[in-house]
Symmetry: C2
Subunit: 112 residues, 2 copies
């Protein structure tokens, strides 16, 4: 499996869970300590830490120890890779629909 495919595999897998998506949404507004990230979730800290580990292993977030807390940030490169993949597919598809519509319009004019 090519390295590029593998990084998308891990990133899409990381995003397939509502807790992990909520963490990504929170971090899109700026870095935060683990204790603050965990607060909205009714979840034992070890379970929450496991979600953070999946996100970190996917390359979507990074974390750093500062004094007594660990701070998390969104990692731009991996996030953009996923968003760019989705947008490229959306463009393929929208382009196809536009061409289909143009074709149908041309045929309608021809028939009129």
């Amino acid at each position: 499996m090519p390295i590029h495919a593998n990084s998308l595999d891990l990133a899409f897998h990381a995003l397939s869970d509502p807790t992990r998506r909520a963490v990504v949404s929170r971090l899109a507004h700026g870095e935060a300590p683990v204790s603050m990230l965990a607060k909205p979730f009714d979840m034992a800290l070890p379970s929450f830490a496991q979600h953070l580990q999946v996100l970190e292993e996917s390359g979507l977030i990074t974390s750093e120890k500062r004094g007594r807390s660990r701070w998390c940030s969104l990692a731009r490169a991996r996030f953009e890779e996923v968003a760019d993949w989705m947008e490229a597919e959306r463009r393929s598809w929208t382009g196809r629909l536009d061409r289909l519509e143009a074709y149908l319009d041309a045929n309608r004019e021809h028939e009129a």
Copy 2:
């Protein structure tokens, strides 16, 4: 888990595999019969059919029997839901970086 979150869970999970992403990329260019979709993959048909089932259960594709073949199409609503989620997060984040940059620029001017 809310229904909306669940549909994103399934869709992101479906996209976490390179074969399934390749099928989505192919279908973004237009509907295709299963036999044509399977051709590029060195994979037994039952394994390939399982990938299609994951995609179909996630709501990302639909399929329909026509004569002796089964045709697959991308399902717009679910695909857009995933793409829209990614873009909303990207906007949150880009907006934050823009505000941070504006703040730093303002401070630099103040110091100059």
